[in-house]
């Protein structure tokens, strides 16, 4: 029994020594030997355990970061709520900047401060007053068109009557100046309350729906050419001697927060080209296209003429070789005169005006000559 115990003790000690020596050997192993052993253990026995550890650490990280993530998300959500308003404001400011660059001079930028009272829909307070050069009856405009007119001026602020005011009137005309009238708010309850009407249009004149109505410049308050709105259609009134048209306004005063106040000298000078940029550009494009077409037509005509001259020359040579008397050969210019009317300007197709068409021989030298019958 004692011998067995001693034997076991010896085995225990031996195993201890062996394992201790192996551990020490592992400690002093070179890196290139140590690394494969560690890597093998990591990939085999430890792999599932390391995945568990990774999951646990991710869970801990998520728990630790939960509060900060929630607060950050709340901050982003709060900011995001204001982004729409900021984008709208940004777009409005860009439009105002564009209007300012087109006006170039003679205006006072101002902010429209809306009240929230019952009668506040008829007017807005402007953040510029007489010190900034604002005078009474100065037109108030937005990038879209006419907003109203200044009716009260203080040194620092002013007040404008917007077009929804029952007393608002502006002399107006259709964009092509074919019809004139007076624009005023459409005094009706309901949705029609926010429309305009153009009264006093001569009965013999009709305006198509969709036509832009602009200020006519008559009366001396509003310069000519400020957009007022687009015609929706004719409406029946008691005035049988004139037509009245409903107009969808270009500007809804409640949506206006930045405006331009035109100074009197600018109103006198006119704003003809300020709101007509699109029209000018369109007409410029049309002119360029038309000029291009004209050039193409001219080039095609010249090429056809040259081709005809070559053909005439070939024909004349052939006739000479065939023994036809020189005087009986029609001169090329007379031949051209005869044939030219056939070639109408409009008949030249673009696809027949390739450069290489002149290189193609229209007639062979030995082709049958056309004798001239005097």
């Amino acid at each position: 029994m004692a011998r067995l115990g001693r034997s076991n003790n010896r085995i225990d000690s031996t195993v201890l020594v062996i394992c201790a020596v192996l551990s020490l050997i592992a400690l002093v192993l070179p890196t290139q030997v140590r690394e494969p052993i560690a890597s093998g253990l990591r990939r085999s026995i430890l792999a599932p355990l390391l995945r568990l550890q990774q999951s646990a650490e991710e869970t801990r990280r998520a728990l630790t970061m939960h509060d900060s993530v929630v607060s950050r998300r709340d901050s982003i959500a709060l900011r995001e709520m204001g982004v729409g308003a900021l984008e709208t404001e940004n777009a409005r400011l860009r439009e105002i900047l564009g209007l300012g660059s087109r006006l170039k001079w003679g205006f006072v930028p101002a902010e429209a401060l809306h009240g929230r009272g019952v009668r506040d829909e008829f007017g807005v307070t402007l953040s510029a007053g007489s010190r900034a050069g604002v005078l009474k009856l100065s037109p108030v405009v937005a990038p879209e068109g006419l907003v109203g007119v200044v009716d009260n001026v203080d040194p620092m602020i002013s007040h404008a009557m917007v077009w929804t005011h029952p007393d608002f009137r502006v002399s107006a005309m259709s964009e092509d100046a074919s019809a004139f009238g007076i624009v005023q708010p459409h005094l009706e309850s309901g949705a029609g309350r926010y429309l305009m009407e153009m009264r006093g249009v001569p009965f013999r004149t009709s305006i198509k729906p969709g036509t832009m109505v602009v200020s006519s410049g008559l009366g001396g308050v509003y310069p000519r050419g400020i957009p007022i709105g687009r015609v929706i259609g004719e409406t029946k009134t008691a005035e049988t001697w004139a037509r009245t048209y409903l107009i969808r306004p270009a500007v809804f005063p409640a949506d206006v927060y930045a405006v331009m106040i035109l100074r009197p000298d600018r109103a006198t000078a006119g704003v003809d080209n300020v709101w007509a940029v699109g029209t000018i550009a369109d007409s410029s494009v049309r002119k360029v296209v038309a000029a291009g077409d004209s050039l193409a037509r001219t080039a095609a005509l010249a090429e056809a003429t040259a081709r005809q001259a070559v053909q005439d020359s070939i024909t004349r040579d052939s006739l000479r070789r065939a023994g036809v008397p020189e005087q009986s050969i029609v001169p090329p210019d007379s031949l051209a005169r005869v044939r030219r009317p056939i070639l109408r300007r409009d008949s030249v197709r673009v696809d027949t005006t390739h450069r290489d068409t002149s290189r193609r021989a229209p007639a062979r030298r030995d082709s049958v000559p056309v004798p001239h019958n005097p």
Binding site: I11, S23, A26, I37, S39, R42, A56, E57, T59, R60
Partner: protein, 162 residues
């Protein structure tokens, strides 16, 4: 030890190893609980010293594979602790929980002493700080966790009377 006893010991060992790779990183303490050492100690007191040494060597070497620069240091520390635990099982692992707590505490501290000296990574004041401050804290946490584990698993580990 019966087959059932071996099976229970293996289950206990596996649970402690799993806790080492799940609960330990989840807690993320600066003085972590060493569930691997608890697993080796609970296994070592149930086998002969030679078996305890082999268990300690295997577990230590596998744990060392996570830090190849110190491969062998953990194994060396673990075999000494396992060997001593197996020798001292007659003294400890009685019914006294404070004694068991002391056993775990001493085992963990001894392990850290051997490990940090063998790995040669820390020296000077850092080594002293580690062995005097953080190792005892870690040993205390390990001892506490070990005692709690024993309380929870005692009905499972001890065979039913009769």
């Amino acid at each position: 030890m019966t087959i059932t006893g071996i099976f229970r010991a293996v289950i206990t060992f596996a649970v402690l190893v799993l806790l080492h790779f799940t609960l330990r990183p989840l807690l993320g303490w600066r003085a972590p609980i060493d569930f691997l050492l608890l697993a080796v100690l609970t296994a070592a007191v149930r086998v002969r010293p030679a078996g305890a040494v082999l268990i300690g060597f295997t577990v230590g070497l596998v744990a060392d594979s996570l830090s190849p620069d110190t491969l062998g240091a953990g194994a060396l520390a673990m075999i000494f602790v396992a060997y001593l635990a197996s020798w001292l099982k007659a003294v400890f692992f009685a019914d006294s929980l404070p004694l068991n707590a002391m056993f775990f505490f001493a085992g963990k501290w001894l392990f850290d002493i051997v490990y940090f000296i063998a790995e040669h990574r820390l020296s000077g004041i850092d080594l002293v700080q580690q062995l005097v401050l953080w190792s005892p804290l870690s040993a205390a946490a390990t001892a506490l966790a070990g005692v709690l584990f024993l309380i929870v698993t005692r009905p499972f580990l001890e065979p039913a009377p009769g």
